[in-house]
């Protein structure tokens, strides 16, 4: 049985950072990922990473922007930690070799981003996530003796010991289909968000909420699951992302009449208001008939100097050309709000600890919460790195002081049985997995998106529960062992349905509008009753809702305008 002190599941930025931090503590580390690490979705983070590093800027200002952006649902102690530690993390990355953009003096240069009161976003053209992740992977290769990599291994479930502590995981080696139990003193889930529950989404096909569902099934608490970010600038239909950096560089949003409609919604920050604000503004324009016939508004990048576009927005030039047939340096591109980010997730403290001893979570899979009701652009990379590092360090410390226990074979056998049952279903015994995924994505995008109400969410919840039933008989074609992606897809569908159910329940529960949760039947924010987190936990009777306090340190909730 592969045994490590610390085992990290997921190898995006949070996972790689956690593994490196744990390795620095001198413990044995393994990192498991269902795709090769550099395929992870952190790649897609284009615009940059926030830190108050410039003279004249302050971590307090960064923290306030983050808290205001979160619509006061973030935990301020966690935000303080993230913003205080951000500058050091940027410098650490720079020293490792990230090719951050430089100003004329050769020092780190910044760009402006949404919801921020200063230009504090550090970046590498518009491939920031990719650049940082590839540099971290360089470090993993460098320290391959300290960190064992299990690339293309799929984690299917967590293993708990008799005391309810996490002591390992069950995995499937994708290359040959063998099932393997891993033992670990600390397990860090860093396997990302759940964007694939919605269709379309900016998220990669691998973002199926595996970790959220795995922790939930093991009894961990989830938090803020209703908070799903719709990004203001995505391509209609395909859901591809156009970075907020485009607006940071000065691009305008226009309706079909050519009006810069943000004047009416956020007269001060205009296009650079918080994402929830901009997405709602766009959706209002579209709903009220001022959008284009394809259900979009336009993003006009032609106002940005061409030289600057090539230097700083090259990826967007390619996305426009390859996926929309538009030369963004010459004409506006049609965009709409699209599913983008999971603010909620596995409830953790500021060191990544979940309420299951030995189980940690970091990155999009986790909810610390630093993003609350709405995440600011360029804060997600920061979240992954800061809390990835903290989780790695704490998980290593725990490993040093615990004995660890051997995970029971029963967990492995149960997972094997689940897989055998899926494979045994005859063609035509039920629906195809792909059909159920399609129905799920469609209903979630229609009913649990920018604008929500009780009837819509209830309809979605009922549909999700119906699909859950259908998934029990859904069949797959591939019966083999080697690279059976069909089977993995069936397992992922199960995770996606759990995620969807939790989001619907939390969205139904929160009877107010805050951040990304806008209830047309409760259009006001209601601090009296709802300045609190909604927690979800799986009990014997199904999902159970409870509440937890929002930590407020120095920023009392105020009215939120941009």
């Amino acid at each position: 049985m592969p045994t490590h002190d610390v085992l990290v599941i997921g190898a995006g930025l949070a996972g790689q950072r956690a593994a490196l931090a744990a390795a620095e503590e001198g413990v044995s580390v393994g990192i498991v990922s269902k795709v090769h690490p550099v395929r992870s979705h952190s790649n897609a983070a284009q615009g940059g990473i926030n830190a108050a590093l410039n003279p004249g800027d302050s971590w307090e200002s960064h923290a306030f922007d983050t808290i205001k952006g979160s619509d006061y649902l973030s935990d301020q102690d966690a935000v303080e930690i993230m913003c205080r530690e951000a500058p050091e993390e940027i410098l650490h990355l720079e020293h490792l070799g990230v090719t951050f953009h430089r100003n004329e003096e050769g020092k780190l240069g910044t760009r402006a981003f949404g919801g921020a009161s200063a230009a504090r976003t550090y970046y590498v053209a518009d491939i920031t996530g990719q650049a940082i992740m590839h540099v971290l992977y360089e470090q993993l290769m460098k320290y391959s003796e300290r960190v064992a990599r299990y690339e293309e291994w799929f984690c299917t479930a967590l293993a708990l010991d008799d005391d309810g502590e996490c002591c390992g995981v069950v995995t499937r080696n994708i290359a040959d289909g063998s099932m393997q139990l891993f033992q670990a003193k600390s397990v860090i889930l860093a396997n990302g968000g759940n964007g694939q529950v919605w269709k379309p989404t900016t998220n990669a096909l691998i973002c199926t909420g595996d970790g959220i569902a795995q922790a939930y099934r093991a009894g961990a608490k989830l938090m803020d699951m209703e908070m799903i970010q719709y990004h203001p600038t995505t391509l209609a239909g395909k859901g591809f992302l156009i970075t907020e950096g485009a607006r940071g560089e000065g691009a305008h949003l226009l309706n079909k009449n050519g009006e810069r409609f943000m004047e009416r919604y956020a007269p001060n920050k205009m296009e650079l208001a918080s994402r929830d604000v901009v997405s709602r503004a766009e959706q209002t324009e579209i709903n009220e008939g001022r959008g284009f016939d394809d259900g979009t508004v336009a993003l006009d990048i032609t106002v940005v100097p061409k030289k600057r576009v090539h230097e700083a927005l090259r990826e967007i030039v390619l996305v426009g050309k390859d996926f929309a047939g538009v030369d963004i340096t010459k004409e506006p591109i049609h965009i709409k709000p699209g599913n983008h980010y999971t603010m909620g997730g596995i409830k953790t403290d500021v060191d990544g600890r979940t309420d299951i001893p030995g189980l940690y979570a970091a990155g999009e899979v986790a909810c610390v919460s630093v993003h609350g009701g709405n995440r600011l652009g360029a804060n997600s990379l920061l979240d992954t790195l800061i809390f990835g590092r903290r989780s790695g360090a704490d998980a290593a410390a725990r490993a040093k002081r615990t004995e660890g226990s051997r995970p029971s074979k029963a967990v492995l056998e149960a997972e094997q049985a689940t897989i055998d049952a899926i494979s045994a279903r005859e063609k035509g015994s039920g629906r195809r997995v792909s059909e159920i995924k399609f129905d799920l994505g469609t209903v979630m995008d229609a009913k649990v998106a920018v604008f929500r109400d009780e009837a819509g969410i209830t309809e979605a919840l009922e549909k999700v529960r119906q699909l859950k039933e259908e998934a029990k008989t859904a069949y797959i074609d591939d019966k083999g062992s080697v690279f059976n992606q069909d089977l993995l897809g069936a397992l992922e569908l199960g995770y996606m349905l759990d995620n969807a159910e939790c989001t619907c329940l939390a969205a139904l529960e929160r009877k107010e509008s805050r951040g990304a949760q806008y209830r047309t039947d409760f259009p006001e924010r209601n601090d009296e009753e709802w300045l609190k987190h909604i927690d979800l936990q799986l009990s014997d009777d199904g999902p159970e809702i409870s509440y937890s306090e929002v930590t407020i340190t120095q920023w009392e909730p105020q009215e939120r305008t941009y």
């Binding site: 795709v35 090769h36 395929r39 979705h41 790649n43 897609a44 020293h95 070799g97 090719t99 951050f100 953009h101 430089r102 100003n103 003096e105 050769g106 020092k107 780190l108 240069g109 590498v124 053209a125 491939i127 990719q130 650049a131 590839h134 360089e138 290769m141 460098k142 690339e151 290359a175 990669a204 096909l205 691998i206 591809f240 061409k306 090539h310 230097e311 090259r314 990826e315 030039v317 390619l318 996305v319 390859d322 996926f323 047939g325 340096t329 195809r432 997995v433 792909s434 059909e435 074609d477 591939d478 019966k479 083999g480 062992s481 080697v482 690279f483 059976n484 992606q485 069909d486 897809g489």
Partner: protein
């Protein structure tokens, strides 16, 4: 919506059968991608059809494959364009029935196939990446703040940083087909990312290593396939040429492939004669200059002797029948003033040395439109004609 036929090279390792072709009919908008087509076939017809994929937006680098023989990303190739490409190929060698040709999809080349379109990148691509010590090697303590560097240097290596490790260049590499041990375009582009990085303190060691490896920078035959294949504009061959230039600047001229002397000889011969004196090129590549001839190294003697069979074959097949093809130095200069024009080109190139970097110039030449007050091609041509006329008179 249009119907397309995807002809996929399939291999199911557990079936006990060899690779085979299978056609899938898919229906989708021409602007959607070949990957979208494959996923439709997988979703609707056969879930065992296997292809790595994740982002669908040319960022994750999972879906490298060959489409109509051309290496690239499935998600970045529009299915409509792929059909046009297939039709162009079919018009050259039409099929018997003359119907709409299928879009032919195969796994990447230069890598073992695991299943369908999934290849073993670990044993090829990643092993080669690790070969180039792919991490920054700074010396001494890190500064308290950031390293202060020329802003251009970061933009320069960002082109290599844009690599998503998809393997399309490796798949297309002709040198690697001939020499599987060639470090290859992706790994060498990665190497430039460190060689070009002013924070790295082992530039010279890296260059020395890559030049002295017989499968290193001088193993590239300059065929441009990788530039064609790269979906991200990394232009791996350009990065290899930058490595060679930097190696030359560091005075590394004793590589075992005689690559440096070969390049120097090539450049000098063209400057002098305008066209290639192949016999002189062979001699100068192995035994450059007077010194090389007075005191030829063992390697040079061996190399020259080893090229004899090639020379004999050339004589036999008629490629080298005249004396100036066989005897070094007899090859004539270009006639008239033509040679002076070649020299003028050299002078211009030396005075206006520019690196091609997509982060500076934009990725297509036609992308940068001339400003209205700038001379257009036509006016330039007219001016040139007028200048030529006045010169002639």
């Amino acid at each position: 919506m249009a119907e397309y036929t995807l002809k996929v090279r399939r291999y199911q390792p557990e079936s006990g059968e060899g690779a085979y072709w299978e056609e899938f009919k898919v229906e989708l908008d021409p602007s959607l991608s070949v990957l979208d087509g494959l996923l439709q076939a997988k979703d609707r017809d056969d879930g065992s059809l296997s292809v790595r994929c994740s982002c669908r937006a040319a960022i994750c680098g999972s879906c490298g494959m060959k489409i109509n023989g051309q290496s690239g990303l499935g998600c970045k190739t529009q299915v409509g364009e792929a059909l046009e490409m297939a039709e162009r190929k079919a018009s050259v060698s039409p099929s018997a029935d003359g119907g709409t040709p299928p879009i032919v999809i195969e796994p990447m080349g230069n890598m073992p196939v695991i299943k369908d379109l999934i290849t073993d990148m670990e044993s090829t691509h990643w092993t080669k990446i690790r070969r180039v010590t792919p991490w920054l090697l700074p010396h001494g303590e890190a500064p308290e703040r950031e390293y202060v560097v020329e802003p251009e240097s970061m933009i320069d290596i960002t082109q290599s940083m844009a690599c998503i490790q998809c393997g399309a260049c490796v798949s297309s590499c002709l040198s690697m087909e001939a020499d599987p041990e060639f470090i290859g375009p992706a790994a060498l582009a990665k190497a430039y990312r460190f060689v070009g990085d002013p924070r790295d303190a082992e530039t010279k060691e890296r260059l020395h290593d890559l030049a002295h490896d017989p499968h290193g920078i001088y193993d590239c035959t300059h065929c441009f396939s990788c530039i064609d294949a790269c979906p991200k504009g990394v232009a791996p061959m350009d990065q290899i040429m930058r490595l060679r230039r930097k190696a030359g600047e560091e005075g590394i001229d004793d590589d075992p492939n005689n690559g440096h002397s070969h390049e120097e000889a090539f450049v000098k011969i063209i400057e002098k004669k305008g066209t290639l004196d192949e016999a002189l090129l062979v001699q100068e590549s192995y035994a450059p200059g007077v010194k090389g001839k007075l005191k030829p190294s063992m390697g040079a003697i061996k190399g020259l002797i080893e090229s004899l069979p090639t020379v004999l074959r050339a004589i036999k097949t008629g490629k080298a029948r005249s004396a100036h093809k066989v005897i070094p130095g007899l090859h004539p200069k270009l006639p008239g003033g033509a040679q002076d024009e070649v020299k003028a080109i050299y002078k211009h190139a030396e005075e206006h040395r520019e690196e091609f970097n997509i982060y500076i110039a934009g990725e297509d030449e036609d992308f940068v439109e001339p400003e209205p007050d700038e001379p257009t091609d036509e006016t330039l041509a007219a001016e040139a004609a007028a200048a030529a006329e006045s010169e002639a008179s």
